[in-house]
Symmetry: C2
Amino acid sequence: MTTTGQQIFSTLTEDGKLTVEVAETTFRDPTGAQVLVQMEAAPINPSDLALLTGASDLENAEYSDGKFVADMPEPFLSGQKGRFGQRLPVGNEGAGTVIAAGEHEMAQALIGQRVACVPGNAYSTHCIAEAAMCLPLGDHSSEQGASAFVNPMTALGFVETAKMEGQSAIIHAAAASNLGQMLLKICNEDGIDLVNIVRKQEQVDLLTGLGAKHVVNSSDDDFMDQLRGAIDATDAYFGFDPIGGGKTVDSCFKAMEQVAASKMTEFSRYGSDQPKKMYIYGRLDFGPTILTPSYGFGWTLSGWLLTPFLAKAGMETVMRMRQRVLANLTTTFASSYKRKVGLKEMLTKEAVLDYRAMHTGEKYLVVPKG
Amino acid sequence: MTTTGQQIFSTLTEDGKLTVEVAETTFRDPTGAQVLVQMEAAPINPSDLALLTGASDLENAEYSDGKFVADMPEPFLSGQKGRFGQRLPVGNEGAGTVIAAGEHEMAQALIGQRVACVPGNAYSTHCIAEAAMCLPLGDHSSEQGASAFVNPMTALGFVETAKMEGQSAIIHAAAASNLGQMLLKICNEDGIDLVNIVRKQEQVDLLTGLGAKHVVNSSDDDFMDQLRGAIDATDAYFGFDPIGGGKTVDSCFKAMEQVAASKMTEFSRYGSDQPKKMYIYGRLDFGPTILTPSYGFGWTLSGWLLTPFLAKAGMETVMRMRQRVLANLTTTFASSYKRKVGLKEMLTKEAVLDYRAMHTGEKYLVVPKG
């Protein structure tokens, strides 16, 4: 038996055309420890945009009912050779109601329950999900639970990573994001010092209102002074950047080294012996990352992704993180949305251009009513 | 009692003037486990240039007998605030004869011996050095022993780092250097696959003649093809780059990811799960390091410096490395020099411009006759 529904597919072809469309599809019955979820809400996260839009030319795309076709420029086209011609589902996470289950008791136990899940095809009327990865939402709504995985686990993952590496302070760029606000609350709860980098005064005010002690504004003339002051106050030689392109990481390394060097008693041609570490976990800016030669050799820059982190952290840590998310879903881990869209509505020019801009506090929620 | 001699000093002042000069100075008697070495030879390594010349404007400097004064441009001036006004000695390593020693028996045992040492003021008629860091040269000349530390220990350090991180293949950029040739010989001896990146056909020929199996030429039109082929053949997802500025690291990460992605059975929006790691250990190019967003998040870029590496590796490993250097000083670890200069001669415009260019195979040896 199969269930019929609608789902969004993204297809990139060798000639550089990205086609994203809503299509009728069938969902097979869940087996083993799988469940079939009737989806009720799914957020559009920056991490979904890689497949959904990438760096394609959305301004000049062709839009029709439930479909757009856009050009993918180089070097982004060549960089995605591996997906040429494949019709890929989109949407990391969402929430809905379990309407069928495989024979495994863990799956059977979820029938009729509302769950958050991470199916990879969340922009769909239905999803097959692993029962072990489903988070039963109890009395919470699907809207409340739709973003229970990516942002909460990432924010908690940053704090876990800091602790694993012996750090008690974190620098976070683009810190006014939904994720950034969660990180701020977690750090306040766990006694981790957080240096928040934002680019607007209203974001300074927002984070300060949420209890942030160190907020620095990259648009201010004295940004580097502010950053050095915050690093000096917190010993934050460790941070996370979702921007990727440009000089955010460079500014952090530079400020870290200047603070560390100012505390040295003797000059060293190689700079301070203070290790400095930054992680890039997103690409809000598709431009290249620029690292200037102004902070010696005592630094490490690395990519950070949730899935490899969770694999490394181990099941016990992951379970502890999930429990914390569920217990604080409407407080620390609450998400808010600018707008709700159906599957077809989400592929209109107006919507696509708006959510691809990834403005702070303007997240979209997909409500796949079919 | 003190000994009188001549030494080179480098002074950077807040107004952006770099003064490098030969000056009369006195050397105090060695105490404890120290020895006084009458210096006979000291190489000018890229790592010495940071203090000796940095990014200063040597073309338009004022040159006089045993002295030059050059302008230091931004951002390099601000980056060296810590040394403003300090009269710093220069020259990491060299070799000479021990003419006095402190009371410790390890120091006393070296009297009259020719040793390689790492005093930090090697461009000098005399140096105070720690006996434990001196390598007795036996029948080797000072010229043969002058470069016994920096390049040999760095090349061995790369192989030790690879082994510590479970790697059996290394990519090396600017691979035709003195250091690169040592690394090639070590890798051949130890059964480590080495991918050599060079930029001239004559360097390809040179390394191939020394037994290199994988040499790729960045000036060739099919450079990226060559690089992917070599990575595919060796599984080298790990490398060292002394250039720093520009896109060398970026090309390596890109080629690594393309090879890894071509072996994947299923497309992932996040790229391959192959970890990729590069170290920058020099700044032959003072320009910024450029990292494009074309190889996902599974990469790490880090600075690499000899001293922190040796501290981390521990005394036993360091002693083993030193023994290997001494046993192979005229073969694997031999250095060659383009020209020998005295202390004053080394500060002439002709010499300074020549060695600051850091051309492959054109290393200078300082012979401080006073």
